[in-house]
């Protein structure tokens, strides 16, 4: 049942002697089957003992003397498993069981894989999660263990290194199952069942279970002198013996040095680990979509100067408000791909936005659909579509698109001189016009002074009257259209006025579309 082989026998024997619990023995035998860890400690113990008693004394490498030495520990184990069996037949073991009825605390996992893998602890954890009122369909378990477990693990590994190597040519420390993983394998089915959620490695909802063991905190200290460069005091950390630092030091220290400074196998602890308060965490969720702005009096973000609101409303607030109420969010991040002026309409597929927050409720597709409808119904100044969940990496794609994509505009132009249709034909013939734009005066107070070269890919003009025409342009991202039209004191060159040999000004501007196919369209 345990899929242990002949070669595992000396390892099992040695570890049980050293004071390892049944699940830790499985770990060091590289047992990778989840179900093996889900049986009770007592059952696994029984199976291990049964496995050992199958030993043919002729098969083991050791002499019969070894066999003799085995018997007393075996007997002890048998006794303990019988006692544990007695306990098991009664109520499920309470956390405060009588000390003499319980097997000794494991020297490697300090009890994590012994006393915290059963239903009552799982129930305790799940109570905390339920009390928080979170909504989720899936979760992932995060386990944090005291740093000294790595030290003890290392010690046990050295203890059986010879036997492990003999078992297989390529067994390395990394092949040994980690305490964290064994713990998750043992309990996640129970947690999932109790909370009615699936366990997903990429779930946005994280349940953290932690343990401490003050009694053995000193186990790490010798590493500070042996590998002093691994331990740098950090002001915001309680102890300099962080898990990372300890792991690093264990990688560096030689076997000889380690064995000189630390008992092998590790000393038996008197107490087991204490569990920390279970905590829950939702990671950030990202939504992206497209929006249209139909008003010429709506800023992108709230326009507030010196605490005074300069203009009512904003694209950000109109989109965020319904999203915030659907998905219980306290704080949020709103970013958009283009920063259009207040008085510019964004039509077509022109504008992208992204919205992220720490959400503690899970999505259902319908929530997104209904949010789209709510936003669109709330105001005729904006409209959203293609709302969808995206990844954090998507933010980068959006910003990248901002720098590279071409945009199409339409503008209402006024000219000082009287124009004819012929004057406008000239404009239609201009292709790939390179212009140099100094930072426009209207934004110079908050942007660095620089010259930007941009390309006007194509233009076409439609005559309206002697002093007005509609101009359509396709330009490189980041082009200041208004300045291209009026020239900004000659600081954008060439400019439309100059090309037409008159003064020109822009009366209205609309962004018509943007050449980007992300995020993918979502059918209504």
């Amino acid at each position: 049942m345990l899929s242990l082989k002949e070669k595992d026998r000396p390892i099992v024997r040695k570890l049980l002697d050293a004071g390892c619990c049944a699940r830790c023995v499985l770990r060091f035998c590289c047992v990778g089957k989840y179900a093996s860890y889900q049986n009770s400690c007592q059952d696994i113990n029984k199976e291990l003992l049964a496995f050992l008693s199958q030993a043919d004394s002729g098969q083991s490498h050791d002499a019969s003397g070894q066999d003799q030495a085995d018997n007393p520990p075996c007997k002890k184990m048998k006794l303990e498993s019988v006692r544990a069996g007695e306990e098991a037949s009664a109520e499920p073991p309470a956390l405060e069981a009588q000390p003499d009825a319980q097997p000794a605390t494991c020297v490697t996992c300090l009890g994590v894989l012994q006393d915290f893998c059963h239903q009552s602890f799982v129930t305790q954890v799940c109570e905390v999660v339920k009390k928080g009122g979170y909504q989720f369909d899936s979760l992932l378990l995060a386990v944090s263990l005291p740093a000294q477990l790595s030290v003890r693990e290392h010690s046990c590994w050295l203890h059986i290194k010879k036997e492990l190597r003999e078992k297989s040519m390529c067994v390395d420390k990394e092949d040994v199952v980690q305490v964290k993983d064994a713990f998750k394998w043992a309990i996640q089915a129970l947690v999932g069942r109790e909370l009615g959620a699936s366990m997903l490695f990429n779930s946005a909802f994280e349940v953290s279970i932690g343990f401490t063991h003050a009694e053995t905190d000193g186990d790490c200290h010798f590493l500070a002198t042996a590998c002093s460069d691994c331990f740098k005091p950090a002001k915001n950390k309680a102890s300099v013996f962080t898990r990372m630092a300890v792991v690093k030091a264990l990688e560096k220290i030689s076997d000889e040095e380690f064995l000189r400074q630390y008992p092998c196998p590790p000393a038996r602890p008197a107490t087991k680990c204490t569990p920390l308060e279970t905590t829950c965490l939702h990671s950030s969720v990202f939504i992206a979509g497209r929006y249209n702005k139909f008003s010429r009096e709506l800023p992108q973000t709230p326009w507030v100067i010196d605490g005074e609101r300069r203009m009512e409303g904003s694209v950000e607030e109109l989109i965020a408000a319904p999203l915030l109420s659907s998905f219980r969010a306290d704080a949020f991040n709103f970013s958009s791909s283009g920063r259009e002026d207040v008085d510019v309409r964004t039509l077509g597929n022109a504008a992208l936005f992204m919205f992220s927050w720490l959400c503690n409720c899970e999505f259902i597709e319908s929530k997104i659909c209904s949010s789209v409808q709510t936003i669109n119904a709330s105001s005729d100044k904006i409209r959203v579509r293609d709302l969808q969940i995206v990844t954090r990496e998507a933010m980068g794609r959006m910003k990248e698109g901002e720098e590279e994509k071409t945009k199409s505009y339409s503008a209402l132009i006024w000219t000082k001189k009287a124009i004819t249709k012929a004057d406008l034909d000239v404009i239609g013939n201009i292709k790939e016009l390179k212009i140099d734009q100094k930072t426009p005066l209207r934004v110079l107070h908050r942007r660095p002074l620089a010259v930007r070269q941009r390309t006007i890919h194509s233009m076409s003009a439609s005559y309206l009257d002697t002093h007005h025409f509609t101009l359509l342009l396709r330009t490189q991202a980041g082009t200041y259209i208004k300045e291209f039209v009026h020239g900004d004191f000659g600081r954008t060159k060439p400019n439309l006025g100059g090309l037409m040999e008159t003064e020109a000004d822009i009366l209205e501007l609309d962004v018509e579309s943007v050449d980007v196919d992300w995020p993918p369209a979502v059918p209504e």
Binding site: L441, R442, L444, P448, L449, F489, G490
Partner: protein, 158 residues
């Protein structure tokens, strides 16, 4: 952009101030350079041995490195074809952001389009001094009053 005028013994400058407090220094239409009818021989931004406005370099959003000017700091000297030299002044306190180098090569720009492409310089006053700058200048109405008084008092042009 709103116009505010500053005169210095008839050598009127016009300061265009944007709502974001950025100021563009230009010549007012009553400035002798524009009134005279003679052409410009040269425009020199090198106002002293140690200081040339052409060397002005700003970097970053806060425009570090820009030369800080007081109201009477010279921006440039314009020499007309009649060899009369005029000094153009900052008129306001602030950091010099840029000077118009186009007018060096094409002084006609200054004569033909003094309020747009023929501008002299762009200056950024300190945020806390911005209002004071505005108040130190004349409004269009006040300016026109001054100018009209000038012509009645002194018949000959300045």
């Amino acid at each position: 952009m709103k116009k505010y005028m500053k005169g210095k013994s008839c050598e009127d400058h016009c300061v265009l101030q944007h709502s974001n407090r950025i100021c563009v220094i230009t010549l007012a239409e009553t400035h002798p350079v524009l009134r005279k009818g003679s052409k410009i021989k040269s425009i020199n931004y090198r106002i002293s041995d140690g200081c040339s406005r052409l060397n002005n370099k700003v970097s970053g959003k806060s425009k570090r490195g820009g030369q800080f000017l007081t109201e009477f700091a010279p921006l440039c000297r314009i020499t007309c074809t009649d060899n009369v030299e005029y000094t153009i002044f900052s008129c306001i306190r602030g950091r010099l952001l840029e000077v118009n180098e186009d007018i060096i090569m094409s002084p006609d720009l200054l004569l033909e389009k003094p309020s747009t492409e023929g501008y002299i310089a762009v200056i950024l006053p300190k945020l806390e001094e911005s209002k004071r700058v505005t108040n130190s200048l004349l409004t269009r109405e006040q300016y026109e009053e001054v100018v009209s008084k000038r012509t009645t008092q002194q018949p000959q042009p300045c």
